[in-house]
Amino acid sequence: MKRHALSTRIWHWLNLVFVTVLFMSGLTISNAHPRLYWGQWGFAEGQQWLSVPRFPDWMVIPGYYNLAQARAWHILAAWGFALMLLFMWVAMLANRHFRRDIATSKREWRPANIWHDVVEHLKLNFDDVGSKYNFLQKLAYGVVLGIFLPMMIATGIAISPGMEPSFGWLVQLLGGRQSARSLHFIFAWSIVGFFVIHILLVLLSGPRRQISAMIDGGHRDEA
């Protein structure tokens, strides 16, 4: 297994902190109006496509219902999150991490290869496949870094009335402000979904080695 670059390690742990604060303060914001709508507007019972359950105090920042304080944390962490995502993209394009380890080749998209990868995962065989990551890993990291995380920023901008003059087109593109709010919620939970699978696979593939590799970089080419 190749070493993790310092930029990757710094981003990984800071991103964990920012995403955690964003998610937990976001749950308070969800509690403020736990209904999701499609389109530009929506404000009342009966108009929603989803009634969201109320999240208990232990799940939320600041630990009890306080919308003003949750918003303050959300805005603060959003800055760290967005700037670090930009940093990670610049770093992984510059140090070729993206092209070398995450971008997939045509060959990897062949059904036989995908099937092989699925079978190896089910057999819990995570031995090196020659490259740093296997196909499903590349796909997961690519989708999270290229779609889930950037969409949190895009939908967040689209929810903000102060951004309307310059980003009205984005609100339109996302199907209206309430659609953007719904998508913000959907992508947030998609990230949680990734997080659960990610943790599970780390636990199954040697958590001690995996976690220390993300801290000190790991050993060079053990295999």
Binding site: Q69, W79, S166, R177
Partner: protein, 246 residues
């Protein structure tokens, strides 16, 4: 397993610490700094005279929800409401060359702007309505702003939990073309629920900035001596952001 202990420790600190951090002076100033950075970034990305998108009549939502005060019972508001607001006055005062008091007829006689815009509440919901009224800039130009004036305070007739509602905006928002003193919603006089007879529309900010039941417009140099000093009712009582562009 030192590292794992470290991670668990970090996690627990994060969860337990947020509340404590927010309640310290340094913590709240970091949170406040993020908020003012937010405002500067939005102002940078959105030129001051650029408009928010406006909608067509078919986009208007079937009902326009009201939040906060929806039927004030304090002072002489109920009497004004019973009289159809015939004697309502809007005072223009503070740092202006010509303080004045405008009747609803005088306000309706000014050049009017009609706009169909989306209202976004801090809680998360949205509604679309058509608003009509003079631009705030027209009124401020009539009264003549003193060069020292930096904020416009909106005085309101309603009280929430015994405290008078008020709001404030800076001159950037006060001079924005879509910032109007609305007296009509969807072609009819403003309902009591939505702020009769006059409310502010400040379209680039969240709903709590759109002060209702307006009695006065006051130009000031500083917000420190107004209400609780944070520039608005919700800012004072619950720590909501003064700039509500997000």
């Amino acid at each position: 397993m030192k590292r794992r202990n470290l991670l668990v420790g970090l996690g627990a600190t994060l969860l337990a610490g947020c509340d404590k951090i927010a309640n310290t002076k340094a913590g709240s100033s970091v949170l406040g700094a993020a908020d003012s950075l937010q405002m500067k970034a939005q102002r940078l990305l959105n030129p001051s005279q650029e408009l928010v998108p406006e909608f067509s009549p078919k986009d208007i939502s079937p009902f326009f929800r009201g939040n906060g005060s929806t039927d004030p019972t304090n002072g002489d508001y109920p009497a004004h409401a019973a009289a159809g607001f015939a004697n309502w006055q809007l005072d223009i005062r503070g740092l202006v060359a010509k303080p004045m008091s405008l009747s609803l007829d005088q306000i309706r006689a000014l050049p009017q702007r009609t706009q169909i815009t989306r209202h976004d509440c801090v809680e998360g919901w949205s509604a679309i309505g058509q608003w009509t009224g003079p631009q705030l800039k027209t009124i401020l130009d009539m009264a003549g702003l003193d060069p020292r004036a930096r904020y416009i305070v909106l005085r309101c007739a309603d009280e929430l939990r015994g405290t008078p509602y008020y709001e404030s905006i800076d001159l950037n928002d006060a001079h924005h073309p879509q910032t109007i003193i609305a007296h009509m919603l969807n072609g009819a006089p403003l309902p009591v629920r939505n702020g009769a007879p006059l409310r502010l529309r400040v379209e680039r900010q969240l709903g709590y900035k759109h002060a209702k039941y307006l009695t006065g417009i006051e130009a000031v140099e500083s917000l420190a001596n107004i209400g609780g000093g944070k520039g608005g009712y919700w800012e004072d009582v619950a720590g909501y952001q003064w700039y509500a562009g997000i």
